[in-house]
Amino acid sequence: MQNEIRRLREQRGLSQAALGAELGVSRQTVNSLETGKYDPSLPLAFTIARYFARSIEEIFHVDD
């Protein structure tokens, strides 16, 4: 699954560690999310969407 997390994080000028602290996850988890290696749980996806004030569909895209 592709996502816009890196772009949104960089727009806000946040480091991966800082975003991780905001979301309650580790820096490695943010990195894995950004590189598409790890798909978040639904609660974490909602937390990310809420944090960036976007819908889940605007942030996460299914690979086609």
């Binding site: 560690a17 979301l23 309650g24 996850v25 580790s26 820096r27 490695q28 988890t29 894995s32 290696k37 790890y38 978040p40 749980s41 974490l44 937390t47």
Partner: protein
């Protein structure tokens, strides 16, 4: 997620970690005592050394995950009882691999006893093989996620 949302689960995992370490220490001491009383003092010393080493590593991991959050790795957070959801998924996938290998190995070991292989050796080797399996599986799964 606010700090208030996280405090209750954090307290619960901290308590669970200390209970886990205490249980581990009791099991380690009890096992070493029983094996020692049975006349196997070297084995008892090995159990005690290995058990205490694991508990010390868990304590170090906890210290590191609290004091140096950014530098703590997946293993340190799991050992410290402070995993996030990705860490838990890595942990579960690793244990799943260990479980499958354990079933296969126990079947092979059982069959080997019918080929005149010493069952005592098989039983004593099994934990080391499974720990090695766990370490390898952990590294591979952690890289994959």
């Amino acid at each position: 997620m606010s700090t208030t949302d996280r405090s209750a689960p954090a307290r619960k995992t901290t308590a669970a970690w200390f209970v886990g370490v205490a249980v581990g220490l009791v099991i380690c001491l009890g096992l070493a005592l029983a094996v020692g009383l049975a006349g196997n003092r070297d084995a008892a010393a090995g159990i005690l050394t290995g058990g205490v080493a694991v508990l010390v590593l868990a304590g170090w991991a906890r210290w590191r995950s609290v004091r140096a959050v950014d530098r703590a790795g997946t293993a340190a957070r799991i050992a410290a009882g402070r995993p996030d959801e990705r860490d838990l998924r890595v942990h579960q996938a690793t244990l799943a691999v260990v479980g499958v290998i354990a079933i296969l190995l126990s079947g092979l070991a059982s069959a080997a006893t019918f080929l005149s292989v010493d069952a005592t050796v098989l039983v004593r080797v099994m934990p080391f093989v499974l720990v090695a399996t766990m370490l390898i599986a952990f590294v591979l799964v952690d890289r994959r996620f």
